[in-house]
Symmetry: C2
Subunit: 489 residues, 2 copies
């Protein structure tokens, strides 16, 4: 049973309220008739991609309000005596019209921030290191120019593509011509464009397990059959990828700082992955979403640059088996929505055509502003400020969880804006999440990042957008809960 | 034979040069072997959606350079003695990789502007009426705020959705709650989202014939089977739509100022179209791309507002069989890339999910700037300035072609930024186009807007981005050519 429930994590109502409300509506207007059986909380949670606690809380609420009843050992049912009130006015809206018989797109959760909670869920950088003065200057320069009176090139303005080509050359060792660069409305659009260009309905797409749910859902929306490939401390387990038959047509990876486990893909794995792509004639989608934010560790070469280096000489036109995706979301603000993709020529032409048919081009004011930002030295200065800013935060986080060795192991601090706390399997992460929430601290469990059944136990600690004080207080609460739970086991 | 040729109208090379260059490459690297037959110019032109003249010119060039030869009565061939030079370095790029077996996306042309030509091809507004002072102030205000450190709601920020709901209420009589509004990255993205939400592979989609090629190609990219429905002086011929069996699941229309013929859909037709949508349970996609720019004529109610008025009372939540699309491309700049869609609730939820998976949200700086623009009175003032600005241009254009009555009939001047000149069938529009080009004036023929074989004869005159002097000079040249051609016939 697939229930038409929409969970919007940006909505002011909590997820459980939204789910309970929509279920109640369906019971009242007869779409869920009296006596019918509801899905289990486990399967509801899986369908809606929410944690099982949310599903449980929604059912608790419906139970308390008298909508549903449990029968010993046989599940949850709509109560028998529920008065159905069909709503004629809304009937037309509620019923699926003929023109909307297509399968609904996948639902994906986006973190809803609750103001009074300390929210460790990842995905939120800090905008603090951004110099107000530089930011205002960049926009002032843009606004001082007359805006273009026509559409620009779908692949992006040449000036920005040149600036990006220089930037990835400098920062990631990727030698490419500006012609290889396609400017996109964020890295997620790049994933969409690649999927639209290459993925036919049912094509296998290898995806990190656990992995980034939004990219995964975007690929699924365009017909991909997800082939989950386990991730360990060295990143994607390429040997497992190799057993997938037929070979997936593409593999999506986040080698700089695996999302969500924070693993850095080792060079041996990187070379093996490239070899796999060459041997099977597959494409690697390298999402380098937070490569700018690396700390003590030496940067490892991007797959896109390794491919060039290991081939017979550098291909001046860019990589051939790798589509490299970058973004300004982590370094500026996620709400900016500008990214880029560097793709093999044969793919690039399609990306440009699809970009053209999708939204013509990425907005001129944004492109103009970023060109100026990249061109003078202010972007480099900004990155250095960010690194300094986050260094303090991650040191603090590291020091809080250091004493927990044996119970919980903090990983992925070398880069990015979040770390992964792998927890002793004896302490279920869902219980930690629940206990923390009760004490005003929100974390994400690793469960939410799995396509299949979770095989690991841990929580994500995004610290980018939190203050030092919040990290201190929230981290201490979490550490306390972990110690307590571990003793109770 | 489908040749992998990409025509980019924004490229500095002319379309014929691009086509000739890519064909030559294919002959040289063996993809088009010596002696093989080329498609006819007619079929090449159709595949690439360029005018036949462009295809002819490309073949002329290849002929002159010795690549191809014609055989009496049997078509065009690659010459037999062409030395093939397979390029090992580029072979990997040229060959279709395993991961790119998916059908290529449709190609669509975008007008390339040539600086020294007077270019009457539509799609270019003027940015002149935009007050520098207001523009700079809006961006200054935006840049003065700290940017958000997280993703915003995929449907757009509440403030902008409220401003848009008020605006369409005031300007188009559409009563809707801000909840009905989804902010998009331009109107083309709205078309994409709707197609992704509703269109299954092979679903029939009624489309104006002639119509807007970019929207058409976007719908096709998402699997639509285009059902062309003729347009006359009263807009879409709803009676013809009614004969399409099975009924298309949606109908795309531009009722305010049909693109490209400039026809305004009559109220009788509007009501008939709504009745069709109700009867067949279909969706109307109302693309109101330039509704702000209307001149002498009384504005006709939007389909979205008519539907509400003719139903039993206004549905406060918004229209039910109409998805209404608006944009800021024509009033500000096409390079801004912000639009919106007001859709029935059942569709809206899907649009939001797909928007989320496509690019998370439309950029915050753009939304923030537009909110301020709509909120104080500056947007209204700007529209009034635009109307005054274009009024002079269209009067001039009208006066130039008035003496040609009988040879050519100018239509669609009541609104928008382009008019349509319907020409006596005895004077083929492709000849007018060619003669004008030779004299430094670029026009688009109506042929390029047809999905099937053209059934009308005329040219498009976009005057939005031209100066009064350019309109005077270019229009006079065109009028002269038309008079000459007509005498020659």
């Amino acid at each position: 049973m697939e229930l038409p429930i929409l969970v919007d994590r940006t909505n002011a109502d909590s997820m459980q309220e939204q789910i309970a409300g929509q279920l109640a509506d369906m019971m009242l207007d007869g779409r869920l008739p009296a006596g019918s059986r509801l899905p289990s909380t486990r399967s509801l949670a899986k369908d809606l991609r929410v944690s099982r606690n949310v599903a449980l809380a929604a059912y608790d609420e419906l139970f308390a309000e008298g909508y549903i009843e449990g029968r010993q050992g046989s599940g949850t049912y709509v109560v028998h005596d529920l008065p159905v009130q069909p709503q004629p006015e809304d009937k037309a809206d509620a019923a699926q019209p003929r023109w909307l018989e297509k399968q609904a797109p996948p639902t994906v959760a986006s973190p809803a921030r609750v103001a009074r909670m300390i929210d460790f869920r990842p995905g939120q950088p800090s905008v603090e290191p951004l110099s107000d003065q530089v930011w205002r200057k960049l926009w002032r320069e843009m606004a001082g120019e007359q805006p273009p009176d026509a559409y620009g090139p779908p692949e992006g303005y040449p000036e920005l593509r040149e600036a990006v080509a220089r930037y990835v050359g400098r920062s990631r060792g990727i030698t490419c011509s500006p012609d290889s660069v396609v400017i996109t409305s964020g890295s997620l659009q790049a994933v969409n464009l690649i999927a639209q260009a290459a993925v036919r309905n049912g094509d296998g797409v290898a995806f990190e397990e656990p992995g980034y749910p939004t990219s995964r859902a975007a690929l699924q929306m365009h017909g991909a059959r997800i082939v989950p490939v386990p991730v360990d401390r060295d990143g994607l387990d390429v040997a497992c990828l190799d057993t997938a038959q037929p070979a997936p047509i593409l593999a999506y990876v986040t080698p700089s700082h695996q999302y969500p486990t924070g693993a850095r893909m080792s060079v041996v794995r990187r070379l093996a992955l490239l070899e796999w792509a060459r041997r099977t004639d597959s494409l690697i989608v390298e999402d380098d979403y937070d490569s700018e934010l690396r700390f003590d560790a030496t940067p490892l070469p991007a797959l896109a640059s390794l491919e060039q280096a290991s081939a017979d000489g550098v291909h001046p036109t860019g990589p051939r088996h790798v589509a490299y995706i970058g973004t300004f979301s982590k370094t500026l603000t996620p709400a900016l929505r500008v990214g880029y993709v560097i793709a093999p020529a044969v793919l690039r032409d399609r990306l440009i055509r699809i970009k053209h048919l999708t939204d013509f081009q990425t907005s001129w004011p944004l492109q103009r502003m970023l060109t100026a930002f990249l061109d003078d030295n202010s972007f480099n200065r900004h990155i250095r400020r960010m690194r300094r800013h986050y260094a303090e935060k991650r040191e603090l986080l590291g020091s809080i969880f250091e004493p927990l060795a044996g119970i919980a192991d903090l990983r992925g601090l070398e880069a990015g804006l979040h770390a992964y706390l792998e927890i002793d399997p004896a302490v279920p992460c869902s219980e930690v999440e629940r206990a923390a929430r009760a004490r005003g601290v929100q974390v994400a469990t690793i469960d939410e990042y799995f396509h299949g059944s979770p095989t690991r136990n841990g929580i994500l600690l995004g610290y980018g957008g939190l203050t030092l004080d919040q990290i201190e207080r929230g981290g201490t609460i979490l550490a306390g809960i972990l110690q307590q739970c571990s003793r109770a086991c």
